[in-house]
């Protein structure tokens, strides 16, 4: 039963190794077309900066962190990563359509509730967003794109992200298995 279920689910997704090759090709094309790498957290950052700037413009000017992304001649949302993430949404929607996964649901372990999964995911996301700003990039911007150009920082980031994932999985594995 379990095996059967797993097989059904695996047909809903691309083969992960093939997916990895595709991602690599996307990365090469990104370097070729845009002259820079992929990113993800930058789009979230632009959104946060824009929100702060419209809600509390005085604070945005004073804040050391936020002010560095604000300039008079460019809107913070006018950033290639924002448009890249719009494309990611569109692509995810297409992939969900093609593989018949297109319905709202929360992916979680049978041992926890949807609510718990959402709360934990939000906490994890907050930590990751904070970490990505301290490390000046996330899995895509620092680790993936960094390693693609053989940047030492990229290799350290990748080791940091996956190394700490191995460490902390011992504590958090009950959330999944």
């Amino acid at each position: 039963m379990m095996e059967n279920n797993r097989k059904d689910r695996s047909q809903n997704y691309l083969n992960p190794y093939f997916g990895g090759v595709l991602l690599g090709i996307v990365l090469i094309l990104t370097f070729y077309i845009t002259g820079r790498g992929l990113g993800a957290s930058g789009a979230a950052k632009s959104t946060v900066v824009t929100t702060i700037q419209s809600v509390a413009p005085e604070y945005a000017k004073k804040s050391h962190y936020v002010s560095q992304f604000i300039s008079d001649d460019n809107h913070p949302m006018n950033n290639w990563l924002v448009f890249e993430v719009l494309g990611v949404f569109a692509g995810a929607f297409l992939s969900g359509t093609l593989y018949g996964r297109l319905k709202p649901r929360v992916e979680h372990s049978p041992k926890i509730t949807s609510k718990k999964r959402l709360v934990v995911a939000l906490l994890g996301g907050l930590l990751f967003g904070f970490g990505s700003q301290v490390a000046r990039g996330c899995t895509s911007g620092a680790a993936l794109s960094g390693m693609a150009v053989l940047s030492f920082g990229g290799i350290i980031t990748m080791m940091g992200i996956f190394g700490s994932a191995y460490l902390f999985s011992w504590i958090f594995k009950r959330l999944w298995i």
Binding site: N78, F83, L94, T97, G100, L102
Partner: protein, 313 residues
């Protein structure tokens, strides 16, 4: 030395660096006008084809949104006016050479007719509906009997209305981006496309949705062709036209135009519609919303960018 007094028109405020006197009201009005034209056009067509039963959303339900769209659109026009109390003067004259006169009179005809059309179908939603006055009941019976002639009038007037939303811009000779003859048909097709998007969004009939989806797909392809054609025409023109096209081909509107209008507003919904016709399950709200959003952004960009382009360099 003879002293001379120079008077320059360019001293008028807002003329330099460019004249920008049309704000958010105008694109919203052009959008709602095109949307209303699109819905009424298909309501007319399918009424004449005797498809009221097969296409209920097209003929009956979507047109109920039209009076609201037109009234909000007219309110936008009114908000834009400098001398609002004199709006009625548009109705003291008929000028065939003025797009504003065309628009004023077409709307004067279409708006009341769209109210009457929607009213004739109210009893199909709420059978207990009662018009209270005998005269109104008689008028309703008269309108119900004359749906076919009204449908013919809708087909003609909706095309005039849809084209007029483009002509309103293209009649400005001093604005190179607007001043091309493709803008009228382009706005008409875009309006028809947003109309089909509304219909396929609200219909509960799968057959009707597929028909509207197919029509929309053709309209999107035509629209893309018109946009290409507009760019080709401008690039083959004088240097002011080339500069106007340059706003979309590397200039300040490049990203918003290509990302929101072309990719997310036309190509991506077209891909989703093709996938749906191929049998994949897609929530219809997504392509419909993208088309509606793309159409709105398109009008905002055209109105904004057009005001930047000019002949004096």
């Amino acid at each position: 030395m003879k002293e001379e007094l120079f008077v320059s028109g360019r001293d008028i405020p807002n003329i330099d660096p460019f004249l920008n006197i049309w704000h958010w009201q105008i694109p919203i009005y052009l959008y709602l006008g095109g949307l209303a034209a699109g819905i009424l056009f298909f309501a007319g067509i399918f009424t004449i084809l005797n498809k009221e039963k097969e296409m209920p959303a097209t003929v009956k339900w979507a047109p109920m949104l039209v009076p609201g769209a037109l009234v909000i659109g007219l309110l936008m026009l009114f908000l834009d006016l400098k001398h609002q109390l004199f709006f009625w003067r548009l109705y003291t004259t008929v000028r065939f050479e003025s797009p504003m006169s065309w628009g004023a009179w077409v709307l004067m005809a279409v708006t009341p007719l769209s109210f009457i059309w929607a009213a004739t179908y109210i009893k199909e939603i709420r059978p207990e509906w009662n018009w209270k006055f005998n005269l109104l009941e008689k008028f309703e019976a008269f309108a119900v009997k004359n749906r076919k002639p009204m449908a013919w009038i809708f087909i003609v007037l909706s095309v005039v209305l849809g084209i007029y939303t483009g002509i309103l811009l293209s009649a400005f000779n001093a604005r190179p981006l607007w001043n091309n003859s493709i803008l009228g048909p382009l706005f008409l097709v875009s309006g028809l496309s947003t109309g089909t998007a509304v219909i396929m969004w609200i219909t509960k009939n799968p057959r009707e949705r597929i028909i509207m989806s197919r029509i929309d797909l053709v309209l999107i392809i035509v629209e893309l062709f018109f946009i290409t054609h507009m760019m080709m025409g401008m690039l083959a023109g004088s240097s002011v036209q080339i500069a106007a096209a340059g706003l979309f081909l590397g200039g300040q509107f490049t990203v918003s135009f290509w990302v929101f209008v072309i990719v997310l507003g036309l190509v991506f919904p077209a891909v989703l519609e093709i996938l749906e016709l191929a049998g994949f399950k897609i929530p219809v709200a997504i392509p419909a919303l993208l088309i509606l959003f793309g159409g709105l952004v398109f009008r905002f960009i055209m109105v904004e960018a057009g005001q930047i382009t000019r002949y004096l360099y």
